[in-house]
């Protein structure tokens, strides 16, 4: 199982259209914030992990070379981790594995993206091979719309109810974003505004979709010895799970979504969780689309299949609910894609260390962070706790 590992600090940038800085300067903002907050010297870092979505998002390949100085990585081992939308959670796993293996005691992990410098959906379409699927996928919204339709049909959920629940989710999260200083889109939405917004890929409308954000997130993974040495509040990694499925979009079912179910199961088993809705205090579910957030509630065992819409409408997953999900506003409000999954981990760590500020869930001790990648192909789940 490896050695105990904890996250002992994180740094996030402000998000938005960040044309006030270059891409490396944006990464520097997160890394500098992390070192300033923790008081740890960059000299003490033994290894660095860097990650983005497909490098061509900004037109520069292998960006960890471009970021050598701002990552404070000169003279140190550096790894690049890139797994599409799940890059951020994969980055966290890479840092975790490195420390858990005993090969390092202090590892810096950084995810970043400057989505506004390129064309995000044109970039993402290159994830799909050019012979067959690329003509029909229509970027991320196309894939997730199809998944949503498959899910609602499979469980016979009336279209109006799915719409109502999705509307509730986007209104709640855009409200939540006001309490997160780093969130990108903060807006008081009305149901009319959401329901009448322009269609992107039917049934997905504008407010069902995450934005293109520029931003970065940095984090330190530490061994038990380093936790003691620095005396910083640790968020212990209690469980990890990562699972993928076949490449061809039409080969596997996406409603009862096996790789999401398996990733959560692996992480729960490792953390000793048997009833996630009861035992978890807060979850940072990767929610680039309103509909997909509900599908995850079901795949992660927060509720039964076909039940998520009803529970959303009852407020079970809202800030004051039984299991608050994405009190940060989540991916729906802030999506610098190579950093997004790491933001979920950072937020989950802030929660269990009582440092989430205005969006703190009182007394949170056990949290879940998650991200998804590929053409609905991979899911990663990490469980963090205040106690080892």
């Amino acid at each position: 199982m490896g050695r105990p590992v904890a996250i002992i600090g994180s740094g996030q940038t402000y998000h938005g259209r960040r044309f006030d800085v270059t891409y490396p300067e944006l990464v520097k903002e997160a890394v500098d914030a992390l070192f300033e907050k923790t008081g740890i010297s960059p000299d003490d870092i033994e290894g660095v992990v860097s990650g983005t979505m497909p490098s061509m998002m900004e037109g520069v390949a292998l960006t960890h070379f471009y970021f050598a100085e701002v990552l404070r990585s000169v003279g140190k081992p550096i790894m690049k981790t890139e797994t599409c939308g799940s890059t951020g959670i994969s980055l966290a796993f890479t840092g975790y594995y490195w420390v858990a293996s005993g090969m390092a005691d202090l590892v810096l992990v950084v995810g970043s993206e400057k989505m506004n410098e390129g064309d995000s959906q044109a970039t993402m379409t290159t994830v799909v091979e050019p012979f067959y699927q690329r003509y029909f996928i229509a970027g991320a919204p196309g894939v997730f719309s199809m998944q949503c339709q498959e899910w609602s049909t499979r469980f016979g959920i009336p279209e109006e109810k799915v719409r109502e629940a999705a509307t509730r989710i986007t209104i709640d999260h855009h409200n939540d974003a006001f309490d997160n200083p780093y969130a990108h889109i903060k807006k008081r939405l009305t149901p009319e505004e959401v329901n009448n917004a322009r269609i992107i890929t039917y049934p997905i409308r504008l407010w069902d979709v995450c934005p293109n954000s520029d931003g970065a997130c940095a984090m330190i993974f530490a061994s038990e010895e380093m936790v003691k040495k620095y005396g910083l509040k640790p968020a212990w990694v209690k469980g990890v799970g990562y699972s993928g499925e076949e490449y061809w979009f039409g080969d596997s079912e996406k409603a009862i979504w096996q790789c999401a179910i398996d990733a959560a199961k692996q992480a729960y088993n490792m953390a000793g969780i048997t009833n996630p809705r009861k035992e978890l205090d807060v979850a940072e579910v990767y929610n680039p689309f309103t509909y997909q957030e509900m599908l995850y509630y079901e795949c992660f065992g927060f509720c039964d299949f076909g039940e998520a819409c009803d529970l959303v409408l009852k407020g079970v997953f809202s800030r004051e609910g039984e299991l608050p999900c994405d009190p940060s506003g989540g991916t729906l409000c802030t999506n610098p894609i190579g950093a997004t999954g790491l933001n979920r981990v950072a937020e989950a760590a802030l929660q269990v260390t009582g440092q989430a500020g205005d969006h703190q869930i009182p007394g949170a001790k056990l949290s879940l962070a998650h991200a998804m990648g590929g053409v609905d192909q991979y899911n990663g789940v990490m469980i963090l706790g205040s106690k080892k």
Partner: protein, 155 residues
């Protein structure tokens, strides 16, 4: 968060030509489209018919050399009406992408649903349903390309 100052912006474009190899299995599949034929391959171990044709079964890891001409009719598993466009998008909106389970096959085939008026999303929503039967409509001129099938239209 964007500051008010006007900083310079470099406009850049990366354009790289590619030659992607089809290999023997997909050459046969795509040549089949020229003859208005959709080929799948059957796995001798799990008996699944995989479409488009594959050289091996992704679950049993055995070679799949049992070629079958599959039905050009099937049912919609899921669909999406796309109303937005990105740079270099290979299919121009509005269009309906769909997963279609061709009769007698065991994987969902990804293609377009067409032959209906796409200008009004409400009309599309009322017309296109999961489970709806569709059949392939072919281009007049064929190139051995996935778009040799123009789209699948409701039966």
């Amino acid at each position: 968060m964007e500051k008010k100052q006007d900083y310079l912006i470099l406009e850049d474009e990366v354009a790289i030509p590619y030659e992607n190899a089809y290999g023997p299995t997909w050459t046969r599949f795509f040549e089949g489209l020229k003859d208005e034929t959709i080929y799948g391959t059957r796995c001798a171990k799990c008996d699944r018919v995989l479409v488009p044709a594959r050289s091996f079964c992704s679950r049993c890891f055995v070679e799949t050399d049992d070629w079958v001409e599959v039905s050009q009719e099937g049912a919609i598993i899921s669909w999406v009406l796309t109303e937005y466009e990105y740079f270099g998008m290979p299919t121009k909106p509005p269009f309906i992408g769909a997963l279609i389970k061709l009769d007698g096959t065991d994987t969902n085939f990804l293609h377009l649903v067409g032959g209906i008026d796409l200008s009004d999303p409400d009309y599309v929503r009322k017309t296109v349903k999961n489970g709806m039967k569709v059949k392939a409509v072919w281009q007049e001129e064929k190139k051995g390309h996935i778009m040799d099938i123009k789209y699948f239209e409701p039966i």
